[in-house]
């Protein structure tokens, strides 16, 4: 058994597999800075990536972690890329969530949740950490807190 049940075993993370690529439209608030669509492959292998699956209907877990993610993004944005994947949601509600928390890291829109299946996702929120080489090294199920997030980021930046 794992010591921390939030660190669920993931086939991708256990075998350090290359992160599955995807191209998805960005939510409207990010289009000015990031363009219409976001392709993960363009960023893989450059710096570590934190991939966070979320939805506006995921209460309270997604609401708990959103401010934590934003504050860490502000602190780490030069060294780690944060990418949100909004799953099985309505665009208007997702945008409202983004505005509510002032989330400044880019989020893509995946209403069907196909990328989630590709990553072996169970449910939102779920966070994957991708190292500099573009390999998945960790999956965290449930809301991330400050302690866990700083541990993960330091580990991937070592």
């Amino acid at each position: 058994m794992q010591r921390n049940p939030k660190e669920l075993p993931s086939v991708l993370a256990q075998e350090r597999r290359p992160a599955p690529d995807f191209t998805l439209p960005l939510l409207p608030p990010y289009r000015a800075e990031w363009g219409e669509a976001f392709r993960l492959g363009d960023h893989l292998g450059k710096k570590p990536i934190l991939l966070n699956f979320w939805a506006s209907w995921c209460y309270p877990a997604c609401y708990e972690e959103a401010p934590v993610l934003e504050s860490f993004w502000r602190r780490y944005r030069e060294r780690v890329l944060f990418v949100g994947v909004n799953v099985q949601d309505k665009e208007a509600e997702a945008v409202r969530f983004v505005e509510q928390f002032g989330l400044s890291f880019p989020s893509v829109f995946d209403p069907r949740g196909r990328v989630g299946v590709d990553y072996g996702m169970y449910g939102v929120p779920e966070t994957f950490l991708i190292d500099r080489e573009g390999r998945v090294v960790l999956r965290h199920a449930g809301a991330v807190d400050e302690a866990a997030l700083s541990r993960y980021l330091e580990e991937v930046l070592r």
Partner: protein, 140 residues
Amino acid sequence: MRLFLLVLLFWAGALAQETAPPPDLSPEVFQIARALRCPVCQGESAAESNSGVAVEMRRLIAEMLQEGKSPEEIKAFFVERYGDWILYEPPRRGLTLWAWVLPLVALLLLGLGLFAYFRPRPLPKELLEEAERRMKEPPA
């Protein structure tokens, strides 16, 4: 009689509607989905659940079938992502082989134990002698 037939017809229609898959997906999709767990549900397969992930899994299965993939290839696709956990039937290899073998071993041991316990045993010699002696004795 006619009324009875009519009722029967309606009843059969309602029953068929309950079990028939939605018209946009083929029964084969559901057959494969039934072997896969729904990741976000408890005790529901990807065929029964209406959760977003299960719906997407069914769509993926339908697409892969259209591409000409076999049911085994499709199941392997999900195992690649979720591990063996996604399968309702544990594969008969590796550690999960024990899930298949242990119940059989346990049944066998139980059978052997019961047989040994209830097996007819020859009576001890002195008891037999005693019984014989008593039979020969005139009744008191």
